[in-house]
């Protein structure tokens, strides 16, 4: 046999062509084209000794372990079987052309001369995927488990969404253990939806959006997950987690209500057992910026500065108190207060209270005392006391034009300090009164 170099096209001729071919000759030419191609052969010239059944001289073409024909004679001869313009195609990339001659070429005692043949072959792309469509009907192993893509000189396989092509380039395996969705909205569904989902799934679909946004989930019809009338989701189940917190486990045919997860991180875990014929689920998720609850004061003395109609993630508000009040968080007095809206829609600090300023117990006055002119014992903002000296032994020191009642009047100020209008914090002094005996000497006897 003659193996000709692998080319995309070429010619094959009989020996000595176009001169008459020799007797007693047999050779097989092996035509190969690259893998992914098939061989197409056409005879451009054919002139062989004709015989009944091409018994003497002939050209035999075979491919794919099949004989495609045995040819002899020439176009128009009554005997023989010339190929004419017929195109011969192999299924694979190899075609065999066997040329056989007998010991003579005579016709009625006259030696005849036949030129032989000239054949042209070319590589033709093999559509490996052609059989894919009919593979089920013809019960043959398809080239690809899922999708087949032909190209000149070859083909490749791919898998449907949710599946992953295996190393063998043919098989597809479920791929749903780490599905990540980061768009602001989108659809998530079980594999094959709305066709029945595959068995033995351990799927994890993660939706991650920007902090400060909440993910809303809305399930579509049909919703169908294998269930049991008495036992809660024993076979297959869809679990939903929001920021790691389980917010539901679903199965059955009742579509879950729309969910506001109040989270920017949602995980859907879908487990299936080894059987079932439910159609699965599909949801549409959307995102919305999270809003914090409108801040509300706990008492009438608290002031929220520049109150906004609504607050969202990263917004903040500042709280102050009315005059004479101070911010208190628990037992702690605060100099200022700011609360920031967090990404979970909560405020990072609870609203403080405004507690009335307490000036504390008034300082005691040496050789004097004080009375409350407001509620007795109450030392809070706007409370008033009146200092007085122990008369007649002491007298309050006053400035010119100022009375003792003015000098002795102290008010609890907004700063939490007892203050006199004229003298400020300084408390009055009680000075000794001289020369005023209570029981001066008296002489009756004259």
């Amino acid at each position: 046999s003659i193996r000709i170099p692998q080319e995309l096209f070429g010619e094959v001729t009989s020996p000595l062509y176009p001169k008459p071919y020799p007797n007693n000759f047999e050779t097989t030419t092996v035509i190969t084209v690259p893998t992914g191609y098939r061989v197409k052969l056409v005879f451009w010239h054919f002139d062989l000794e004709p015989s009944e059944g091409c018994f003497y001289d002939y050209v035999k073409i075979s491919a794919d372990k099949k004989t495609l024909g045995r040819f002899c004679g020439q176009l128009g001869s009554p005997l023989g079987n010339p190929p004419g313009k017929k195109e011969f195609m192999s299924q694979g990339n190899k075609m065999l052309l066997t040329f056989h001659t007998d010991f003579s070429n005579e016709e009625n005692g006259t030696i005849m001369f036949y030129k032989g043949f000239l054949a042209y072959y070319q590589a033709v792309d093999l559509d490996e995927c052609a059989s894919q469509l009919n593979s089920v009907e013809e019960n043959i192993q398809p080239k690809c488990q899922h999708l087949c893509h032909n190209y000149v000189g070859g083909y490749f396989c791919s898998c449907r969404i949710g599946y992953e092509l295996q190393k063998n380039g043919h098989s597809c395996q479920v791929k749903c253990s780490n599905e990540l969705y980061t768009e602001p909205s989108g659809y998530v569904s079980s594999l094959e939806y709305p066709q029945p989902y595959p068995p033995d799934l351990r799927c994890n679909y993660s939706i991650r959006v920007e902090r400060g946004h909440t993910i809303h989930l809305k399930f579509l019809e049909p919703f169908e997950i294998d269930d049991h009338q008495q036992v809660h989701c024993p076979y297959d189940q869809l679990q939903i987690y929001a920021s790691g917190r389980n917010i539901g486990e679903f199965c059955g045919k009742q579509r879950p209500a729309a969910l506001d997860t109040r989270s920017n991180a949602v995980d859907l875990l879908f487990f299936t057992d080894d059987s079932g014929d439910s159609r699965g689920w599909k949801l549409h998720y959307t995102t919305e910026i999270i809003k914090c609850p409108q801040p509300k004061t706990l008492d009438e003395f608290t002031i929220i500065q520049d109150l906004q109609p609504q607050y969202q993630f990263r917004d903040y508000f500042i709280v102050t108190c009315k005059q004479g009040y101070q911010l208190v968080e628990g037992n702690q007095v605060l100099l200022s207060f700011t609360a920031v809206c967090q990404d979970d829609g909560t405020w990072h600090r609870a609203m403080p209270r405004c507690k009335i300023k307490d000036c504390g117990q008034p300082r005691s006055l040496l050789n004097g005392a004080f009375n409350y002119t407001t509620t007795n014992g109450v030392n809070t903002y706007q409370a008033r006391i009146q200092y007085y000296c122990r008369e007649p032994y002491y007298k309050m020191k006053t400035r010119d034009g100022s009375s003792e009642s003015e000098r002795g009047m102290y008010t609890c100020t907004a700063q939490g300090i007892w203050k006199n209008e004229q003298e400020g914090e300084k408390i009055p002094r009680c000075l000794p009164v001289c020369g005023k005996p209570v029981h001066p000497v008296e002489e009756k006897q004259r």
Binding site: N367, P432, P437
Partner: protein
């Protein structure tokens, strides 16, 4: 006090009882100062530098009771710079202040006396009271006694001193009170106490003099440190503290 009578509680609430070089008197100024005579602290003809206690008692008319009330510790002694301990006939500047460690609480039996602000308090004939725990005739007093004396005419006192051939200095910073015809006077142990005059205009009692010296007791006039001349010094000393 010679020829006087026993004081009742609250009659002379400024009266201090001192026990320094023997019995003496004083008067409360403000609530932590005792006005007294310098010679109760540095007696004439008594140059020994022995440490003596400056015991001061206040608030009662009985010696026994006043001592029971407790001593008021003295923080500092201020003697007038004009005082000359070594000049036995010269009681010039016989004034001193005792600054108490602690203020006292005033009450009906413990009140300060006022200081004079004009010369009318020294008009002759003006009656004043002298009180003290000093001797009476030949007996020591157990209780506070007082006597009412008139301010004497300065010339009378000078004449009286000349008649007695005394070299004692009777300066402008002194005044005299009493009447040689009356057996009424202050005496030993009353020194430092004050000559108190009732100021009717202001309804207050004013210390115009400090019991300072005399020739014997109740045999003529008594001589007093004229406080009006020392008011500035007193205020200065008190304000400095």
């Amino acid at each position: 006090i010679i020829g006087g009578q026993q004081a009742k509680m609250g009659n002379f609430p400024w009266q201090a009882f001192t026990s320094i070089h023997g019995r003496g008197g004083g008067a409360l100024l403000g609530d932590r100062w005792i006005l007294t005579a310098a010679h109760t602290l540095k007696p004439k003809e008594h140059n020994t530098q022995t440490n003596v206690s400056n015991d001061v008692f206040l608030g009662h008319v009985s010696v026994e009771e006043i001592m029971k009330l407790g001593n008021h510790p003295v923080r500092q002694v201020h003697i007038h710079p004009d005082y000359r301990q070594g000049e036995s006939h010269n009681f010039e500047g016989d004034i001193a202040l005792l600054e108490l460690e602690n203020s006292v609480t005033l009450g009906p039996n413990l009140l300060p006396i006022c200081l004079p602000d004009n010369d009318t308090f020294y008009d002759s004939g003006l009656m004043g009271y002298v009180s003290g725990f000093g001797i009476m005739e030949e007996r020591i007093a157990n209780d506070l006694r007082f006597v009412r004396l008139p301010v004497a005419k300065r010339e009378e006192c000078e004449r009286w001193l000349r008649k007695k051939n005394r070299k004692d200095v009777f300066s402008q910073s002194m005044f005299c009170a009493g009447d040689p015809t009356l057996k009424q006077d202050a005496c030993q142990g009353d020194s430092g106490g004050v000559f108190a005059v009732r100021d009717r205009n202001n309804d207050r009692w004013v210390a115009t003099g400090i019991v300072s010296w005399g020739i014997g007791c109740s045999r003529g006039y008594g001589f007093y440190t004229k406080l009006l001349n020392y008011v500035d010094w007193i205020k200065k000393e008190m304000e400095e503290e």
